[in-house]
Symmetry: D3
Subunit: 193 residues, 6 copies
């Protein structure tokens, strides 16, 4: 049995009301239900907590643009070899950044990506949180400051890396696979209606 | 400036009502407020989401005893070199396991700890989720099954490791230090009242 | 100065006759000249040797299908964080495998890809050649034999991994970036003419 | 059979005279015989050589305080996941440093410990000797000099890390476990007699 | 069966004319046929491509002396644990450098070798290409510039490391062992004829 | 200043009587004084303890031949990139094993060396002690038992690896370089007298 079969996706109808409402809202907007809801939906309390954490970090207005937040997700998820997050958040990043290449670049090697020096510094910090947080030191904060980031920004950057340290592990553990739609999203110009 | 000074602890009074209530309840019970509340309390939405995730995994009745859940926390936090989690959850583990040695053992080398073969298998799985989740394979689940664990148990085990992958990184990032009380808790027999 | 600027692309016209002929043939067929020719073309002797090695392994008829050869390239290039090879050979793989998802899967985590157990064994071997060839042992060959591969197949598999160990390093060294066309190739059905 | 059973502890009475005398002296002083004597006592020549090396480094008067010497032992033993040395030398460190927290801090993450910048530099050097001595370079010595350490001090620091590279491996190999007494030593104020 | 038996050496007579001619030329000059020809000769197209690549890099006149080119081979092959390349190219290096010690030094730890600071910088760069090319950054090129190397020199240095990334993997894969003659070559002064 | 200059060699005459006597005895026998005595002689107590430990393990009659003991030294010193130990003990191994190739083989990749399966098992165990002793487990002892080794043999094997974990670090720390004589010893047949 492969890992992807151990924890079958639930259907929207099996979800508690609040989660089903959220899922339907997403479906309305994007045309499909991302598998994270249907995989994690097996555990409504855990899904709810994850969405709350996600919203607290990813929907918050701060010094990171929406695209920059997703850059952190894609680069650290690439380093953690998380297929779901690379493909699903790669799609979101392409749309927010209006750049069809940057997600593949960040997932493969963020040092070669079409990003600004400020974004490079942001990702250096995020990758250290993702991969060797115990070695974080003053110099890491100072490198952020040189690009105009504050300590609060450091928290925002690091917290996204930390949340996806969780999410990458859950997706790897549960065999959460990306919806087919994500692979192509943001790669071709949207057709005018 | 050291990392531990960048994000000062808030005081209970600065917390929103719901979090303050929780904090007071903990204080009532244990005699002090664990620093995780006062460090993360700077970001109430993140703290709330973290506590919700924590409760969903750690308070849930399942095939893992309270002590076993804390074993996962301590062993994986040791591997991630997270001082707060090793010391604070080490204290909780000593109390739940009624064993003053097992926390130090698990934090240092879980292969030498006074645990059962079933617990060893549980920790082998948890450590793989913590350290190399992308390499998880059928054989890892089967090794759990040999000790009577189900796939749902695997989720429970792995999810705790995943949550503390987040928590360890946040503590390392924010310079969250253990309260002095934790170092000694569970090491000496409680005095009869 | 960024690495990608240190060694500017040459133009086809600057190439020696034999290489220009090859480049024009490729352009004829695919509509553009892959940057590997224009980056490595700065060193015609090296490019010629690389193409000869490439053709000896990738164009040879053997027990590996064209798609399987490209799978090896994509999976090992992902492990080596080589942007050019992941994107360019990812495109070729999508076309050969007639599967728009498999390249992203292999580049991120080959253990979660839509491949057969035989292909999984092939990639286990290729990854060991790519990442820890000194530890290759009889057991690695035997694992291939269990899936019907011969020792000659092992050579074919390992040699592709070895060639792209070279190619990945050259692309990383010279700042060789994928042509924009590669990002989308093989992701959308070709329009009928 | 677990590793801890392969090489049973000897009893003091089985030891040669010189070692028995030393053991009795220790017992007199601390109230128990540390297991290192009874585990390594199986091989009197090896134990004698180890004690001689230990005394040459740890009892010598030099620019390192007794507590600082034990800091090196605890931090490097933590990095080597050696349960015996972390717990036994952690106890000694707590007593010498008159600090009930610093051993747990150093064993978990020396970058977060309550130590001086000079001690941090000392431990940076010791950890490099413990974990990647082949990469030692002039810059490592110069970093020590900046904190007033001489090259002779560097030898003292590095030699302790080197000796416990040996000791940690022997304890891991022979299943040498800490005496129960060590876990609590130095954590509670000594009662006045 | 050991790896070294899976792919028996061919004999010179089995080689295609061009390769046999080359082999005989080498034999004429050195008195024996290096096993790389007889192991890789099983695949004439691959051997031809490898020799072409080798000659393009190793025979080219540039800012690297013959000895320096071989230093790169020996140091990176040591890091890749490739027996054939360490012993065979170690022999060539001893002869070119007229130094019977430097090959053993570079294969074991290039930081302790009898080389110039310029050669040390060359090897720092080569080792990064060999071991972590994805992390190459401007600072690596600038470190070379400080010793008078140009970007073209960086290509030359890195390309040799990249070619032997291939060659080391092929030798490890095919069980290519050094000829007995190589072990001693260049260690004793040649007798006058 | 290079590391090799920080701690100059002492001369035999500066040594205490007992050590000078030993040094002279060695010189008598081999024709030169190995640098370990003159480097470590700066610290007579440490040198004495090291020699005592060395003799307890290396001169002891047990189930390991003299050559096998040196195999452990050479293979683990290669893994620790210790130039002195690889070259000096490589020389001793060549003499004991009457094989001019085996030292270079073991220092580079013990999996490709001309050794017996029993010796391969011995080195697998030794390398685990050298590189990841915390992960030692019953299976490692059982793998030795399959080749007729006892637990006491396991101690002997592991203790040598542990001692040279110390020695390799001291040589790397102090810049201890091999005497020129060692490079060639055991490579050419001794001339009859």
């Amino acid at each position: 049995m492969s890992t992807t079969d151990r924890f079958p996706l639930v259907t929207a109808i099996e979800l508690p009301d609040d989660l089903r409402a959220r899922v339907l809202e997403v479906q309305e907007k994007t045309g499909f239900v991302p598998n994270v809801f249907l995989k994690m939906g097996r555990r409504p309390d855990e899904l709810r907590a994850f969405m709350a954490y996600h919203d607290a970090l990813m929907l918050k207005e701060n010094n990171l643009s929406k695209a920059e937040k997703e850059m952190i997700v894609v680069a650290t998820s690439g380093a953690n070899n998380c297929l779901y997050c690379v493909v699903a958040h790669g799609a979101i990043l392409r749309i927010f950044a209006r750049n069809p290449r940057v997600a593949d670049q960040l997932a493969t090697n963020y040092r070669k990506a079409e990003i600004t020096p400020r974004q490079r510094a942001m990702l250096d910090f995020a990758m250290k949180v993702a991969l060797s947080s115990a070695a974080l030191d003053d110099a890491d904060f100072e490198a952020l400051h040189e690009h105009g980031f504050t300590d609060e920004d450091a928290w925002d950057i690091g917290a996204i890396a930390a949340l996806f340290a969780l999410s990458n592990r859950m997706a790897n553990l549960t065999g959460q696979l990306p919806n087919e739609e994500f692979y192509l999203m943001g790669r071709v110009p949207r057709e005018k209606k």
